[in-house]
Amino acid sequence: MNIKRLLIPAIVGSMVGCEQQAPEKIEIEPEKPVYQSTYKPMPSQEFVITNATILVGNGERIDNGSVWVKDGKIHAVGQNLTDTAGVTVYDGEGQWVTPGLIDVHSHLGVYPSPSHEANEDGNEMTKPNTAEVWAEHAVWTQDPGFDLALAGGVTSMQVLPGSGNLIGGRGVTLKNIPSVTMQGMKFPGAPHGLKMACGENPKRFYGGKGQSPMTRMGNVAGYRAAWIKAKAYKEKWDKYYQAAEKGEETDKPEKDLQLETLAEVLRGNILIHNHCYRAEEMAIMIDIAKEFDYKISTFHHAVESYKIADLLAENDICSAMWADWWGFKHEAYDSVRENVAMVDKANACAVVHSDSAIGIQHLNQESAKAMSAGNKQGLNIQPQDAIRWTTANAAKSLGVADKVGTLENNKMADIVIWSHNPFSIYAKAEKVFIDGALAYDRKDASKKAVSDFDLGVTDPEGERL
């Protein structure tokens, strides 16, 4: 039963000679934390990047600026930093500095390269609701895609289950640091995500087998049925905890992995990441969230966000978008190249995501296309604005905005030094720091991670790249 009586109040009570028995609170042994992050920053030293063009991530740009990193954190940012004597200097002349890029939608590790059936671990398509599965239990840490993404300046990413199910399972946010174990990559303190999917994918797969959902009606019925159960489950546990508070002994409810995930959403501990293309489906999902009193963090692949950008702003929901993907499904037919810019223009939270092991290597180019499409229509989106789409806004989407996403003081020193303006095709990540440690240096082979897969696979005495 895992219940211990707290004896102290009773003793205290008897000492003061109370006649009436004080209610005894029952202490419930907390759940054992599982699959915890064991991530430890790599060794780092204090340094300062000088003379660079700095995009802070919060909308600010600092020309000829410096970033000072101490103890793996951003110590100071500005034009005239003093007291940096004796600190290692990286001369950033002609270079640009941004926060490490964050991809809110990746399948690295669960759909790794080389891609083949035995490596496909992202979609547990055995029933339409698999809230019980966790992407992190399937991450292949030796996916060579992680190192390629690091060379593209990506320092964190959310690895999500696929979109075959209405409720696909938990996503995990990782630091893009090579580690043999998933736990060694797991972003400390980042909340889980829950992948949900609207539209064509779930209904095609299950409908095709003569099962529910066969229609978008069935999709919505499926979500609602799941939340009704989750609510009842959460109430059962709430009652159990309340009873313990009052000192009443009750049976501990049975734990259900699927409902536990959903209950964690209702408790506000897991963020909803909802694959949803079409505007009217997003509006329905917003109503479902209101019906069951939870919050949607982000609509992913939100191809039609531009049609309801006002509604998204009003409900404080991020849209994670591609710059220009379209036409692979009917629900992706109304894509416009200005989508990201139009969402941003409406003061809704715009995020550029990849959903691709190639795209994640060029997230800066995806943002650049979205920025230039908006500017061609007369907007004035500057690099310091567009960088938010893969930094601050992405961090907000993942619930880690207090830790990463900008170069503000005391945030994790996840930093990219770019050869050019990052919104140029010619820009390459020259150096990438994660928690202040140099995790990638384009010019130094010893500062390039080589996955186990890449070792000796093309040349027994060499490395793949």
Binding site: S113, P114, S115, H116, P144, G145, L148, E200, R204, Y306, K307, I308, A309, D310, L311, D324, W325, W326, G327, F328, K329, H330, Y333, D334, S335, V336, R337, E338, M342, A346, A357, I358, Q361, H362, Q365, A368, K369, M371, S372, A373, N375, K376, Q377, F423, S424, I425, Y426, A427, K428, F453, V457, T458, R464, L465
Partner: protein, 425 residues
């Protein structure tokens, strides 16, 4: 009678327009940076004169005639209209809606002879969306169906009408490597045997065709129509494009091409850079998407500077990228090749004249007199990701910068409070 006459007259007029392929308007683009894709390379502060759909003059201080429309190109860049060397444009509207996809056939006995051209839909929304983003031409290849021979591709101009069909049967496409093996019983060795046998059979059939009599049973590896479709390949008139990534697969295909004396083009080429010299020596071009650097077991050594290395080795490169819906993103792929070491002019040639040469598209792919006036005026460096077209010309016709996507964008640019956007504002 009158009605009929009028009808005939308008039909003739329409036919005349379709036949001429030319625009009556004359254009003079002044003072632009011209990326000519010729030996002259890039010309600064230069002019291009377009008359009757053709480029008639390139140089400095060209004067305008009375009816010439002058376009100020100051600060702008001009390239030939881009071509993507491998697409399904016109064969696919929505990938996941199979009724809208005509890219491959499962029909038995129809492989090398499968001519994709009649399926191309020039009214597809992919045509204007690619066009306004700078793609004026495309090679349309069939996808692999049941046979290692996918069929015959076409060259198109991105007009929204049938006159976009420039040339049928520009190449035969076949699969090798993992894909070819899967269509040939499960092994590359049997795929190689099928390719080899197809050529031997085609040669035999051609020599003995006059012995063919109705009722006589012939046992060949492919149908008679498929074997006959290979004749132009045997004559080196039509290239055979074969997909392959692995370095030793490519070497074996080079040997096969030598044995049967056909013009080989490698498509994919993930590890082509490892055998760059062999490709260059055999004059085998490579169609590739330079941004594709994900290792597969048949392309373990694929890398972002693969295109630059192939260029250094002297291999002729034809770029593709962005799939079909975004076939114009061949430009982003080319830009990445440049970021990873390929000269900019060479990258532009890989999206213009190289593809024209390999598929024998005459009068396209360069900015020089005599060429069709497929031109794009860019608002910046044409390889830069943030650059966009200001104007697009196809065969001398200035294209409206409109697509279904721009219509949607304009409809929703200013949102109505009540989400009622369906009426014209």
């Amino acid at each position: 009678m009158r009605l009929l006459k009028t009808g005939l007259a308008s039909m003739l007029l329409t036919a005349g327009l379709i036949g001429s392929h030319a625009s009556a308007d004359e254009y003079l683009i002044k003072n632009a940076t011209l990326h000519t894709a010729t030996a002259k390379g890039t010309l600064a502060q230069a002019d291009v004169l377009v008359v009757d759909g053709k480029i008639v003059n390139v140089g400095q201080e060209i004067s305008a005639g009375q009816k010439t429309i002058v376009i100020d190109g100051s600060g702008k860049h001009v390239t030939p209209g881009l071509i993507n060397a491998s697409t399904n444009i016109g064969l696919v509207e929505i990938s996941a809606v199979s009724n809208t996809v005509d890219a491959s056939t499962k029909l038995p006995g129809v492989s090398a002879s499968f001519n994709i051209s009649p399926a191309i839909n020039f009214r597809s929304t992919l045509v204007p969306q690619n066009r306004i983003n700078g793609l004026t031409r495309a090679i349309v290849l069939p996808r692999v169906g049941e046979s290692i021979f996918a069929g015959q591709g076409a060259a198109i101009a991105l007009h929204s009408s049938m006159r976009g069909l420039l040339k049928e049967k520009v190449a035969i496409f076949a699969a090798y490597g993992e894909s070819g093996a899967s269509k040939a019983g499960g092994s590359r060795a049997s795929a190689m045997q099928l390719l080899d046998q197809a050529f031997s059979d085609a040669k035999y059939l051609r020599r003995n065709e006059n012995r063919y009599l109705p009722g006589f049973q012939w046992e060949f590896s492919l149908s008679l129509a498929d074997l006959k479709a290979l004749y132009p390949v045997l004559d080196r008139k039509t290239p055979l494009v074969i997909s392959a990534h692995r370095a030793d697969d490519i070497l074996r295909l080079i040997a096969l091409a030598k044995k049967h004396s056909f013009k080989l083009v490698i498509a994919g080429g993930g590890e082509a850079w490892m055998v760059g010299k062999a490709l260059a020596d055999a004059k085998v071009p490579v169609i590739m998407d330079p941004i594709n650097n994900l290792p597969q077991f048949e392309s373990l050594a694929v890398r972002l500077d693969g295109a630059a290395r192939l260029y250094q080795a002297g291999v002729k490169l034809l770029f593709t990228g962005g799939g079909s819906h975004n076939g114009h993103l061949v430009r982003q792929s080319a830009g990445n090749a440049v970021a990873y070491g390929m000269p900019a002019e060479a990258a532009i040639e890989a999206m213009t004249i190289n593809t024209a040469e390999v598929f024998s598209l005459y009068n396209y792919g360069q900015i020089k007199p005599g060429m069709d006036a497929d031109l794009v005026i860019w608002d910046g460096d044409p390889l830069e990701i943030t650059s966009n077209p200001d104007a697009v010309f196809i065969q001398g016709e200035k294209q409206p910068m409109v697509s279904r996507a721009t219509r949607l964008r304009d409809r929703y640019w200013e949102l109505q409070d009540n989400h009622q956007q369906a009426y014209r504002q």
